[in-house]
Amino acid sequence: MSILLPLLWLCHLATATLTISIPPSTHLPNPHILPATTHATLTTLPAAGAGDRDPSHILTTSLTRGSTLVFNDIPAGHPESYLLDIRAGEYVFAPYRVDVAADGSVMGVWETFRGNPWENRGAEKYVVDIAAKKAADVVVEAKVLGKKGFYEERATFSPLSLVKNPMILMAIVALVLTLGMPKLMENMDPEMRAEFEQQSRASPITGATTNAMTGGGFDLAGWMAGTAPNPMASAESPREGATGRETTTGSARKRG
């Protein structure tokens, strides 16, 4: 029995535990929704020639009921610097650096950054208290960095998105103008209307549009309604002037 006791004590030293707790955070308000496949891994590569301890340099532990991850059996024998990864479906956790002393007790835990030098240590999570000299069970908190979105969002039909379309907007403006203009003209003062008509007749642009409307181009609405002439026929018919509104429409009427 007296031989056994120190042995037991040694065993106890070697099995210092490292516990990672997952606190609620903005990305993960309820850690209990983490899937059962959640696990943590401690990875390192033993120094060259020390390969006889395979494969204990990769340690894995599963998520417990209390949303913690517990490493019970960190092997002793050689100081190691482990990379701690936590993998939990769509949740992304920050990687940690875990330094372990030769007796298997945890020396320190720091945040680390992937793709950065190993010496580049981030926020300190735990450092052993040399003065206390007690290999206490180490508890550190995991940090959730974000959530992965696995699915593509299907574009849903909404009237608002239709309105945002510039083509639709232009069409609406044109519609408002064509419907609203005559109303506006009617409500105008008769003198002002006369002046406006005078002006629009003089303006070359309006003249051209009027021309296009009446005889210059193909009037689809008119053609569909059966009132406009066959476009081929109108192309053949002689033009009598840029502002010859009366004569053109007159000829059209004679034919119709």
Partner: protein
Amino acid sequence: MRLQAAFFIAACLSPAAAIYSDEVNHIEFHHALLGAPSPDSTFFLKPSSSSNASLLYTISEKSIIGAVNPRDGSLIWRQDISRPGSATSGAGILRGLDGNNAVVGAAGDSISSWSAQDGKLIWENRLADGAVADLELLELEDASATSGSRDTIVLTSGEGAGVVRRLDGDSGKTKWEHKDNSGDVPFQVSSSPSEIFYISLQSAMLKGYKIKVTSLDPITGRQSRQVTLNTESDITSQDSILFVGANTASPLIVWADKSLKSLKVNVIGTKQINTIAIDNTSGQEIQQITVHAPHKLNSLAHFLVHYKTETGAWAEVFHTDMKSSVVKKAYQLPYLQGQSVVATNNINANVYFTRVTDSEAVVVSSASHGILGRWNADVSSTDRAIHAVADVVTKGKSVAVRSAVIRESGDWSLIRNGQTEWTRPEALIHTVAAAWVEEEDQEDLVHELEVEGHESLIGAYIHRVKRHLRDLQHLPEWLKELPKRIITSILTDEVSNLDSFGVAKSIIVATEKGRVYALDTGRQGTIKWSFQAEKTSHWDIKAILTIPGSAEIYISDGSSLRVNSSTGEIISRSAPTNVKLQSIATFEHQGGSSMVRIGSLGIQEDGSPVSSFDDITGFLVTTSNDGRVLGWVEKDIKSPVWEFVPPAGQKVIKAVSRPSHDPVASIGKVLGDRSVLYKYLNQNLVLVTAVNEQDHTAGFYLLDGVSGKVLYSVRRSGVDPTQPIASAISENWFAYSFFGDAVDESSAKGYQLVVSELYESPIANDRGPLDAAGNYSSLHDLPLPHVVSQSFVIAEPISHMAVTQTRQGITTRQLLCVLPSSNAIVGIPRPVLDPRRPVDRDPTSAEAEEGLFRYAPYLDFDGKWYLTHSRDVAGIQTVLSCPTQLESTSLIFAFGGDIYGTRATPSQAFDILGKSFSKLQLVLTVVALAAGVTFLAPMARKKQVNMLWKAT
């Protein structure tokens, strides 16, 4: 922030081709498998004291604990408890108790307790002294217990010593242990309300074993008494004991004498042995005796003995007198031909036996022989049932039963009142090889077209007219189908309607246990046919090669099997040869748009071909078992043409070549300033991986397969050779990944992914030494490629790599990576893995136009790249990709553990009208426009008339 930036960049620049959530289960399928359930450790259990519905729990032969929903057979959770390095002997043990919210499983020397509801860990323990031989949950709580969790009694058997421990239900800590150093064989533990029994086998003087029962106090673990039964004449090994009853009011030990003439029953803790003569009226030899007894403490002390012969089975029910420990027969279930399995369960104290046979399912109470429920069953199957567990529900006088039947192949099905509800194809977990089936009917047309191509102009014309006339006979059918087709195409989604584009291909898979299956990837991976090709536990399949209409399976002993790929009939078998094969090599050549196989050849373990290949113009590259790479030509199969030996200390572990179907859409890469970098395109590239296990280095060598010339090599230090090293090569680029340790403090530690591209020269618009040459020769002055590489740190290991294949290679490729630690398959878009991404600066406008963005050392896998999205696809060994008729789409099939299949669209489905395209909406829009026109036309006419009158 760093991570978010990475997310953002990836989202902006990668062609997002993620799955839509409404496409899940439409374009993909997943068989989440456990492996064949272990008969002794499969049970129905209510996951928590509050729930009424029970789940089906099991531990499989692969030491995976799983909870299955009995309603639809879906997996609720699973945990793999096998540990690398621990000696697992046989299947594990799983125990659960109603009212306890935990299940406790053991495999090898590790024992763990899991929350029954969601599969989260409660505690785990590693027992130092040997493997777990048996475990029981203590049903009765002591006065000291407070919570609902029950303690575990575990027996370990190590070097000549058995240890019984009581482990705390909440923490897994040892409460007491009892060590047995007598040298007996530790056998089992059992318990009664007041005692714990440790049963061991004591070697008798001459031969056989005596059963020794040691009673232990449940609270302290102290030994209270010991009983030894004189059984040495009957028991020669552990297998002779048929049953050790667990947790019943009267736990039993049952064994039979050697001639199977009588049954011996002992109530544990007593010295009395009841001998019952076996009443065999079948006239056949008994092959198997199984004992079924309830496991609950408060149930009646009744049990059933099931006797199985070659062609049939019967059963007898016995009652135990609790006071006198006398066992007497109550009644008998008749002898029936065919397969028969029995399951036990109890409701309160009543015990019910469910017997499932070929023709019917019957429920009887243990108390009397009256049949409570009988259903005609549709369970007859060539796959014999070996075990069943049942869940009986009584409602007034009627009963309902659902029984989960485990079959010989490992498949698992649930029969509810005689109807098969679901079947889980667990045997597929052993899949080691797979190949896409080539359809026969398409081949006919190809053949006809070939005939036309070879005839004279007039002959071909006549042939074509004849063919079209022949096709006319299908016209009435086609016309009849037409309205239906139009309606269905409007109503249903396009994604499920692409079968004619080669999207619904079948795949033939073969398992290590000698079974061959055909799965239909277009129908959620349902099994089209299956058969047992060989009765073996290690069928060493080297390759499956398919030709239109049939598939040939090659085994390592040189034999082969040809099956009809549409029916599964065996066409022919060839006998084994006396050479052991390492692999099968195939020769293929480009024939039109597809690859045509012109021959195949076995490769021996030392890397030499089995026979010469004189009739084929080609070359072979093989790896030998002593870590070399060898090149062969058709003339000489005795000595290789070239030999690649890695530097001293390194061992070749892998060699990959370009896929046989690897079309190159463009021979150059157009840069932002419209100049061109010419790709180094060599059909014969081989990427060899070699590792040095001593100093942790790895070498990657790019060889030319014809000449064996090393075109490029790179050496990496700090590589962990025990972790997976994956590699892939396609077009003019290759990629590999490994775990790289921090060699010094200023280097990074983590998994790395390296991608390299090969160009003919570093200068744009320049082909280097090749200049204007149309051809090149591997043998004379093969120019070396200009290699551009970039390394990325990734978050997890990659165990296997593959590249998506499309019909013409125009679609962007994805690097398919299997992530074993998050049980996923990720498709990394090639533009992200462009080694020409600018380092430490933002891209110039020309580079940005090319699609290059700033290099970041950490490559975060965007969630949209995950082909498996949120699924847990475990144990994948190999990923196959196959082009379809649609250029945008590549079929993906993954196997090795789970079976997973999906469609990858790396550049999005540009040639398919997706689900978002609503045909109904289009039709409605046209109708609405037409209505608008008919409504507006009179208005416009009226207005014009009015305008004319008013104007004049």
